[in-house]
């Protein structure tokens, strides 16, 4: 097993793809945390814990759930919305839950507006601007998600979670696979379950730290 661990950055001038460092994707029924394969259930608990500990826990829904291109996508979008609402209700007032879309993958010139969107070519801009410390990708095509996750790991200290509908993402710090409506709802259940049991970030005169 690889000794490499997928941890929050900033990691390197050009961080390696985790797969090239020997990190393997989970099999069905599993997740990975920091590159270590775990039962999927453990992934839900850790993802919920990370969300509740964050100053700015954020969900980045991608085009596969933003557009109602089939019934499954529309249903999954409702689950994402539910997760966001649950997160908002579950965090301390000093925390700011956000929902920022990745509507497409077009390069945006001269640069994106980080207030309203995230783009896979410059995902760090949105992370930096909004001071996001934990984020979750959902509904993003796998290749674009991997690019974004690696750039975020390279240039920010943000903790990344991938709710992937396919085989998962090694470049996230925590990844689920075969995501469905039910799995997103289950994560929302875990957020609600852990509400109040996870200490929020400490508040100082300068805000949350």
């Amino acid at each position: 097993m690889s000794q490499y661990r997928v941890l929050p950055g900033p990691e390197h001038f050009l961080p390696p793809a985790a797969a090239s460092m020997g990190i393997r994707l989970p099999n069905p029924g599993e997740a990975h945390i920091n590159g270590v394969i775990v039962p999927e259930e453990k992934g839900y608990e850790e993802a919920a814990r990370q969300f509740l500990m964050a100053k700015v826990p954020t969900i980045f829904p991608g085009p596969l759930v933003l557009w109602a291109w089939n019934e499954k996508a529309a249903k999954k979008a409702k689950a994402v919305r539910h997760l966001y609402e649950t997160l908002k209700e579950s965090v301390h007032p000093s925390q700011q839950a956000m929902l920022i879309p990745m509507p497409d993958y077009r390069p945006k010139y001269p640069k994106i507006d980080p207030e309203v969107e995230i783009n896979p070519n410059h995902p760090n801009l949105t992370i930096w601007h909004n001071k996001i410390d934990v984020c979750m990708f959902v509904g993003v095509h796998c290749h674009q998600a991997n690019l974004s996750l690696k750039i975020i790991r390279g240039g920010t200290s943000c903790y990344t979670i991938a709710m992937c509908a396919q085989a998962g993402h090694e470049d996230a710090m925590l990844s689920f696979r075969d995501a469905t409506y039910d799995k997103i709802m289950l994560l929302a259940d875990w957020v609600r379950k852990l509400k109040g049991s996870v200490p929020p970030p400490k508040i100082t005169a300068k805000g949350a730290v």
């Binding site: 985790a18 393997r24 070519n121 095509h141 796998c142 674009q144 991997n146 690696k150 090694e170």
Partner: protein
């Protein structure tokens, strides 16, 4: 994400039943047939639920492109046409794959080289096109005989590269290749290579799966990139390279993009091991002497081992089936006891021996040869001679006739 329901058990327009690929390859009854390698390619394609085949059938290396034209006439291939050149063919393959089709093509030698620009583009665009490479000489004076130098050029394109030894490998791997390369975490083109002429033109007994069973169709909705979309990368890159327009982080995007291609090759290990039962095959690897080879050099190595056994010399064999991803750990493990490692090759540069030397501890154990090129055959006796000479044993010279 796609609204798909399983098609397994239903029939296509030719009356073939879409069959679970694992059952098709491992459990379905096989029928032995006596076919050339080119005919075997045709028979594999009959069962591959291929949407588009594009050909430039000038090459004398393989009849496969023409034979697959017959399949199209019979209604087994969705669409089939001839490109203006090998470069055009590979570009057209990209277009078809961008549109969400399962695509197949063949090439060889100079055609591979002419089309080369397209292969890293296929990989970068995550197009799971399958390309048969029936290797032949690439330099002037040209040869239609086998020479594996072109594989060396394919190794760093970002494609998966497999090297078949026999027509049976070819039949099985064409079908299994789609299963690996179309996995959403892989989704890369596959160069399925063989030593042309030896495999393509000679006849062999090949066990075929039932002709009334076929692979399930490709599901483009599992692709890691959107299908044809002129506004988004990867298609957009081709008309509007963002790397040329922006700042530092765009270069990071481009760099990450390249890393992602090679990450996808790494991810293919798991699937390839499942389908090919490992990236290498081994025999008697506790021997002091090993032959490590790929393609038909494996067959010649087997014959050399038989000749050596007649003389009481024990020699093991490592057959490298997959070149990308490179089976580094497997080769290290298989060769850990060997004192002498011989790498017979059908090319002038010895690219396989170089890869093996770069992989192993104590690379002085690797004897880069024997090598033939330009279409020469490799009699097993020259492998025996190479081994005996390296061991300080008397060996009969095969050079010239002398007096």
């Amino acid at each position: 994400m796609a609204e798909t329901t399983s098609v397994i058990g239903t029939q296509n327009k030719k009356g073939q039943t879409y069959t679970d690929p694992m059952y098709l390859m491992n459990e379905a009854q096989r029928t032995p047939c006596f076919y050339t390698g080119s005919e075997v390619i045709k028979e594999a394609l009959r069962r591959a639920s291929c949407d588009v085949m594009i050909a430039y059938p000038i090459t004398p290396q393989s009849e496969a492109a023409a034979l697959i034209g017959e399949l199209f006439a019979e209604g087994y291939i969705g669409d089939y046409f001839r490109g203006e050149s090998e470069f055009a063919v590979m570009s057209q393959c990209a277009g078809a794959a961008f549109g969400g089709a399962r695509v197949f093509t063949t090439t060889a030698g100079p055609g591979t080289m002419r089309a080369m620009e397209n292969f890293p583009m296929w990989a970068g665009a995550r197009l799971p096109i399958q390309m048969i490479v029936t290797c032949r000489g690439i330099n002037s004076p040209l040869s239609i005989q086998p020479d594996t130098l072109e594989i060396a050029y394919l190794l760093n394109t970002g494609m998966l590269v497999w090297h078949a030894e026999t027509a049976q490998d070819f039949f099985d791997w064409i079908l299994k290749g789609y299963m690996v390369s179309e996995e959403p975490d892989v989704h890369l083109p596959l160069a399925l290579c063989c030593d042309g002429f030896f495999v393509t033109h000679t006849k062999d007994v090949v066990n075929l799966t039932p002709a009334d069973m076929c692979l399930p169709p490709y599901d483009p909705y599992r692709s890691p990139v959107p299908c044809m979309d002129m506004e988004c990368p990867p298609v957009r890159m081709m008309r509007d390279p963002f790397v040329m327009k922006s700042n530092y982080i765009s270069y990071a995007t481009h760099a990450s993009w390249q890393q992602e291609i090679w990450a996808a090759i790494e991810r293919s290990r798991k699937h390839t091991i499942k389908w090919l039962n490992g990236l290498i095959d081994t025999e008697n690897i506790d021997s002091d002497i090993l032959i490590v080879a790929s393609g038909t050099a494996v067959s010649q190595g087997r014959e050399a081992i038989r000749l050596l056994e007649d003389e009481g010399i024990r020699c093991g064999l490592v057959k490298i089936k997959v070149l990308r991803p490179w089976p580094e750990d497997e080769i290290r493990e298989a060769t850990k006891h060997a004192k002498h490692i011989f790498v017979p090759e059908f090319n002038v540069t010895g690219w396989l021996a170089k890869e093996i030397r770069a992989t192993l501890p104590n690379p002085h154990r690797v004897h880069a040869g024997p090598r033939v090129c330009g279409g020469m055959t490799m009699p097993p006796e020259i492998i025996v001679q190479e081994i005996k000479t390296a061991l300080g044993m008397k060996a009969e010279s095969l050079a010239g006739r002398g007096s």
